[in-house]
């Protein structure tokens, strides 16, 4: 029996990857949930906002690298991030101006806004491809690992290794900070309360002297910052590829929904639920069983990985059946 190895194997293959993937989803879901909570529609362009922002960050990173500026062990992209956020925010506020504001003033049904966001999604998608092409791009520099498998084995002498990447650690930290800050902001700060008031009853917010356009701007700003950060961290971790940012949209939505739309804690919980269910349910337990002294015949896999996405959705549906508006009682329009 070899408890330590079993533990390390689970950590290395299940806990750490699922946690960091969960954090990536959560960071994306925070933006989605914020837009839904305040502006009351599901923003399909969020994935492409992530891609667009990350593309800009990459360009700036290249620029910085060219003139020899770096962050040592941390990726240079972090330095470029604020600029990327600023540029993307300008663009997103522009789309709000020319696209969404019109429907807000018309009081269009949320579905119209959703469709408009699909339009924006297509355009941003095309733009990102125009700007940076469709190829896979890696832009992480600095140290890749906090702990690498080889190092870990050398230190501990265990046969199983453990790795923790800088990008994974970064994502986890940033997500925790973002969630905490957003929660505080919405529930404690004046501006945050104004945003919630606006989402609750737009007319009455007006009557209370809240400037709706400011609320909307603020919402877009925060959501953009979250999206670009999420996009950059995801790109650092996995490499940048435009197509993948559309694909990540579905799990992000799943995360936001299962946690309860409009609730930052829900988004984070949702992200982890989706990620852990994908990894844990399809994990073959044979290796662990072997370490624990059993000699199993098969793989001890509940379901093959082909169905991992299906599994996370089954879990999502089950959660919704018992909690129809998500774990943290989200909103619904």
């Amino acid at each position: 029996m070899d408890m330590l190895n079993a533990l390390v194997a689970i950590l290395n293959f299940v806990v750490i990857p699922a946690a960091s993937y969960g954090a990536q989803l959560a960071l994306g879901a925070l933006g989605v949930t914020l837009i839904y909570g305040i502006l009351r529609f599901s923003n399909f362009a969020h994935g492409d906002t992530m891609a667009f922002g990350a593309a800009l960050v990459i360009l700036i990173t290249w620029g910085l690298q060219a003139i020899g500026i770096g962050l040592g062990p941390l990726p240079t992209a972090l330095l470029a991030l604020p600029f990327g956020i600023a540029l993307t925010a300008v663009f997103i506020l522009g789309t709000d101006r020319v696209v969404y504001r019109f429907y807000r003033s018309k009081r269009s049904a949320p579905i119209i806004l959703v469709m408009a966001s699909v339009g924006v999604m297509f355009i941003m998608n095309g733009l990102t491809r125009l700007i940076i092409g469709v190829d896979e791009i890696r832009f992480d520099d600095g140290a890749r690992f906090l702990v690498s498998v080889q190092q870990f084995r050398a230190w501990t002498g265990l046969s199983e290794g453990l790795s923790l990447r800088v990008s994974q650690a970064l994502t986890l930290v940033v997500t925790a900070l973002a969630c905490w800050a957003l929660f505080r902001f919405l529930n404690r700060s004046r501006a945050g309360k104004a945003m919630r008031a606006y989402s609750d009853n737009e007319d009455l917010a007006l009557l209370s002297g809240i400037d709706p356009e400011r609320v909307v701007r603020l919402t877009w700003l925060i959501a953009t910052a979250l999206a670009v950060t999420a996009g950059t961290l995801y790109g650092l971790d996995k490499s940048f590829k435009v197509f993948n940012y559309f694909q990540i949209l579905l799990p992000i939505f799943a995360a936001a929904i299962v946690g309860g739309l409009g609730n930052p804690l829900g988004a984070v919980a949702g992200g982890f639920i989706v990620a852990f269910s994908e990894v844990a349910v399809t994990y073959p337990w044979r290796k662990i069983a072997t370490y624990l002294g059993f000699e199993p015949q098969g793989l001890l896999q509940l379901l093959s990985t082909e169905y991992k996405f299906a599994v996370s959705f089954v879990i999502l549906i089950v959660v919704l059946l018992f909690r129809p508006t998500g774990l943290f009682r989200g909103k619904s329009v």
């Binding site: 009081r107 269009s108 579905i111 119209i112 469709m115 699909v118 355009i123 941003m124 125009l130 007319d203």
Partner: protein
Amino acid sequence: MSNTRQAEAVSPWRAPVLFLILAALFLAEGSFRNALFSGSWNTALAILNMGLISAVMALGVNMQWGYAGLFNAGVVGFLALGGLAPVLVSTAPVQGAWAAGGPRLILALLVGLGTLVLAAQVWRRISGAWRVPALVAVLVAGFVAYRWLFDPAVMAIEANNSARAGNIGGLGWPVLLSWPVGALFAAAAAWGVGKVALGLRSDYLAIATLGIGEIIVAVMRNEEWLSRGVKNVSGIPRPVPYELDLQGNADFVARAAEWGMSPAVASGVWVKLLYAGLFGAVLLALILLAELALKSPWGRMMRAIRDNETAAEAMGKDVTRRHLQIFVIGSAVIGLAGAMMVTLDGLLSPNSFNPLRYTFLIWVMVIVGGSGNNWGAALGAILVWFLWIKAEVWGPELMRLVTGPLPAGALRDHLLGSAPHMRFIALGLVLLLVLRFAPRGLVPEK
């Protein structure tokens, strides 16, 4: 500023005029040859045919969303289920497949179904402390029995001539018969899904159905015994003659010469016209039925339910049942469209069922056309499909226009090289423009 949405008056001529414009677009596509249009009837009709099928899909979504406010984001799943029908009904039987494990497979599926029914009964009948253990016991026992029956049967079937078949095969019946069967498949699934998920609201229902759609497609991709999974089934029979047969038919060749077309072109046009007739008939029949239903107390009741469920419930309308009814009917229509589409393609390729194309694009069609309005949904579907296809040409064309004034150089080359991606930009622009100038759709609900 006002508290409620204002319905701007819509001219009664709007729908006919828009349909005329649409017809003009197709005529232009068929007869003019320039940077925008191809001038080929074959192309025009090919787009039209898929457009008609899209219209049927849009009709199904419109029933669910436009009539009842149910946000079904699992369109692709029901479509795929419908698409299964032509394979199971009308492809030729696979030699030896049935013998290899057919009966055992059926038995396994029955056991699986029975387990679910039993579990539901246990959940309903037993209360108290035994409820959960009993449920778990039933599920576990059922699952074990199911896998014990299922796995060997599947192995045997998949091993049977796996390069060319490896699936259970079809019945070899006429393909038109598979259309209603496709509708039935989708309806059955929708019934089950509806029983479980219709308690959810708006975006929560959307994500649940999205998940269910993904699950259905995942099953179709991975269960090879059913329809060869990702290995695709091709050569699905047709309800219309093959072009090559027509080309070999002297009468037809003579007639083609009369029309002044080459036999190849004429056969293509003729076959597509036949398809268009079939699809058009189905579409018109569905619209007729839907309009009759909508302009009657039933439609009024559905609108009331959509407006305010609590009040409708208090006014004696069984909201749950009506939701289920419309969900099943809408899904059946989507399933029908799926069967039609697979018949037209002659190919079932589960990998091509992706939600962007078959869920969101359909939604775009409905919203652009005007949700709640059948004619609108149909119009939106055909128009958006036309644009989706033409964006392939118009996007790069647009890029050429944009980059025209640029000096030749790296930037221009880069942009021209990226021209295919203008497809997305062009489509997005069109969508935004339509939504801007007709925010409630081209032909809004009255």
